[in-house]
Amino acid sequence: MPLVTIDGRQIEVEQGTSVIQAADRLGVEIPRFCYHPDLRPEGNCRMCLVEVDGYARPVVACATPVADGMVVHSPHESATASQAVNGVLEFLLVNHPLDCPICDQAGECSLQDFYMHPDYGLHESHVDPAEKVHKHKRVDLGPRIVLDAERCVMCSRCVRFSAEVSGYAEVQFVRRGNRVELVTFEDRALEDPYAGNLADVCPVGALTSRDFRFKRRVWHLESTDAICAGCSTGCNVRIDHFKGKIERVVPRRNPSVNRSWICDEGRLSHEKAQGQDRLLHPRGADGGELSWSEAIARADALLRGGRAGVPGRALLLGSASATNESLLLLRRFGELAFTQRTMDFRLGNEPELVDAREDHLLRRRDKHPNTMGAIHLGFAAQEGGLPLHVRAAEHDAYAALLLVYHPPLVGDESPEAAGALERLIRAVPASVVLTSHRLPFLEAATLLLPVAAWAEEEGTYTNYQGAVQFTGQALRAPGAARSAVAILADLLERVTLRRPDTSPKTLFVELAQAVPAYQGLSFATLSSRSAIAYPPEGRMHYGQEGFAGR
């Protein structure tokens, strides 16, 4: 393996690694626009010029493979490289409109960051603003993206994303020289269901997000790492929020799950999760609001009916959108509270769908983030499924129902599942439903308990591959809603007379013990920045293929 020295620090890397990748691994910061770890290198921005001993001219770090014994000097220590990069940066700003005050990229713009860098920025301008080449501004490219061609640095990341990753090839350059301009054909709106990524890959303000437009300056945002709950892929995302409101959701790079991308549906799923139709207070069958102590007491009383010891007297329906931790407590509650119980989570054929692709890139047909976790926790051990339970309930098999329900964040609940749930609730005499949203088909429940939605509670999801990923809490749940873990802990306390420890760490240790597949996983690795842990090899039940996007 070649050994390369960058700024006096050495690293051994695999054959074929580029200089910029080696530098990234060493933590040597090399400025770049066109290089993106998940796109083919094009070497067009010339910003990553470095000096290499033995080379007459600076070379681009992104497209130069390391060779054994190579000695590289970044612009931080090489005057040659620094001068070269400074020159390139000056060129990039020659025709830049410098409209940072009205540009949403400001604060996370590479041009700004690099210009302010003392090692290669801060040149004096020699251009009159009046002399700049003018191009199209504020072009609406559909509901996701706004284009400002003057701010474009022609790095072609978007062009390459569109052609290589999503395959829609909807953005392209036209013309030549300094007249080159980014366009869509006849300014058409983007059809790409992954169009939101264009704004993410854009290192400057040429492509900005329509949803986020003028909402907030990025330096005001707080960020929370999370996992998208839109489908079983479990894309890693970062939730940017301000004063208790989610302003945007952007992808977080995870090479083995979603690389650097998310789909637009996932990007916008927070709107539904935090929507208007939230259930804000515990509610009895009469529609009256309850306090939590009343509600828990009533839930306990209702569920006692199912504890009589008659076979099949209690039905516990978990949710494939609930965290592993809440499912663990639900299962424990079921085991401790009822001698005879049926546990399930299926509203349809989730186990068959869990790793079925919806397209070539990320989206999967199972719109739940934690189907695999529910399977691992044994929620579908028996023959069952919702239709079967409805039939059983209508033959008075169940005395009590405990249902945890989160509506799917992408698309609507299938009419069959909604209808079946309604019939089930009506058929069981005592039904306690934990739900984040007010939904007509849940209205008949004896007791409705408001539960935190996505981004309002922390925990882990297991994606279709069997990867266990930690999702953080960005917001407080609205109204009196509480996390499912807290509610289930209250219910458990009624049974065991001891409140379980609900700290994420403890719960995860218990989870790792309870699920054979998770043995060896630890919360420490999980809550690190990468927020992913795979079960040791050979333990995955589904989705062995790993990520295999095009």
Partner: protein, 455 residues
């Protein structure tokens, strides 16, 4: 003077296959096919033939980089996208002796084991493409090309691709991109075309003139070719002379021939009996020579380099004493600004910027420091681009300003010669962190000061 390429070009009937064949056309191919491809490569390497497109890279060496991969084709691309301003030698060959070029293509293709060859011609040469297409049809009809060339069992398909007006397609990787149907954005190297070329296959790109030398090398032998010209620049060179010259045209000279001799004797000297002011010897992409500098220069790679310029494409442009060098340079700079493909930053922004500054200079609106600005912009382009166009655009700008600086300075307004740039147009070095110069004064004078005089 010995002729290799222009032996038969005076006869308009040379384009006919039977006429050409009577004069020995395709004998070189027959000779090549009788040997192994490696022997052909060795012969060409021994001849010392260097690429005639501009860079002067040894042709045999270039071929030897090809390592065929099983199941993957090898391509030969004939670069007939002659777009360097002042260059029309390939035009001449393609029009006058298409079979010579075709034979060269076949020899090269055989040597690198390619079964497909493309002739990429610039769009403006559509009329030449017809001549070439006819030549290909004739050669195929005669069993020279196509399946089993000359009965040897070696198959070769030759196709023509016409461009549509873009200088950058003459750049190797730009040409490949264009042939693939993409924007002709040059590719960053490595990987080189010999490994990942057209459609990711091993590819050789050779210039028309380079290929046209091959039949001679095959029939007459490498030694006879190497005996021509100088030690390190063997053979002959087609020189296209244009501009302020009495008899513009294409001349074949032996390498090492004195440049001004060619200009004075063959090309009839400077037009209208005027005095020579300057000459660009290798297309606009190489530094200009003043008349004095040009005097001792020979037409070969080494002599040109010693004089601080390059042989390039051999496009010799003559400037007479009446020429305004700034205006001429503006024309050249505008060419590069127009033809820069816009892929990589320094060339995209730099060529346009240089043209912009030159234009205001020529229009009498020059600003102080503009000449230094031009040189600095050039410096920031050079060596930092993906392909050679960036470097090429800098050569004329730098050499014109260096060698004719007084002409440029004469265009600057008098006061512009002294004052630093920012004083002229109100922006520039910021002296404090909070704003333009003068502001500190305002801040340090709390009451009497005039800061709100603007009110």
């Amino acid at each position: 003077m010995p002729a290799i390429l222009t032996r038969h070009t005076d006869d308009p009937e040379q384009t006919e296959l039977d006429v050409a064949q009577r004069r020995g056309a395709y004998d070189g191919l027959r000779e090549a096919l009788s040997r192994s491809p490696d022997e052909v490569i060795a012969e060409v390497e021994a001849s010392g033939l260097r690429g005639r497109g501009g860079a002067g890279f040894p042709t045999g060496r270039k071929w030897s980089f090809i390592r065929p991969v099983p199941g993957q084709p090898v391509y030969l691309l004939c670069n007939a996208d002659e777009s360097e301003p002042g260059t029309f030698k390939d035009h001449y060959l393609l029009r006058r002796d298409p079979h010579l070029v075709l034979e060269g293509i076949a020899i090269a293709a055989y040597a690198i084991r390619a079964h497909t060859a493309y002739i990429y011609m610039r769009g403006e040469y559509a009329s030449l493409a017809e001549i070439m297409a006819k030549a290909i049809r004739e050669a195929q009809g005669a069993g020279i090309l196509g399946e089993s060339c000359l009965g040897s069992g070696y198959d070769l398909r030759v196709s023509i691709q016409l461009g549509a007006g873009a200088y950058i397609c003459g750049e190797e990787t730009g040409l490949i991109q264009s042939l693939e149907g993409k924007r002709a954005y040059p590719r960053v190297r490595p990987p080189f075309p010999a490994v990942h070329g057209f459609l990711d296959s091993p590819t050789v790109i050779n210039n028309v003139e380079t290929l046209a030398n091959l039949p001679f090398i095959m029939t007459e032998g490498a030694a006879r070719f190497a005996a021509l010209g100088t030690d390190r620049s063997p053979g002959t060179k087609l020189i296209s002379i244009s501009g302020a010259v009495a008899r513009p045209g294409v001349y074949e000279v032996e390498m090492g021939y004195p440049l001004l001799e060619l200009l004075r004797h063959e090309a009839g000297g400077v037009r209208l009996g005027r005095r020579l002011k300057a000459v660009i010897p290798g297309g606009t992409s190489v530094p200009v020579l003043t008349a004095e500098e040009a005097a001792p220069v020979m037409i070969d790679y080494e002599s040109m380099q010693a004089a601080g310029t390059l042989l390039g494409s051999g496009g010799t442009i003559v400037f007479d004493e009446g020429t305004s060098m700034p205006e001429a340079l503006l024309r050249i700079a505008e060419f590069y600004a127009h033809e820069s493909c816009g892929e990589c930053t320094p060339c995209r922004e730099g060529t346009g910027w240089m043209a912009w500054v030159l234009r205001r200079l020529v229009q009498g609106e020059g600003r102080p420091g503009d000449l230094d600005l031009l040189l600095r912009v050039g410096h920031n382009i050079e060596g930092r681009t993906i392909c050679g166009l960036g470097d090429a655009s800098v050569q004329p700008v730098r050499s014109f300003i260096q060698k004719f600086r007084e002409e440029f300075e004469a265009l600057l307004p008098r006061e512009a010669l002294a004052a630093p740039a920012w004083q002229m147009h109100g922006h520039g070095p910021r002296t404090g962190r909070f704003g333009p110069p003068g502001e500190e004064a305002a801040l340090s004078d709390p009451v009497e000061g005039p800061p709100n005089a603007a009110l």
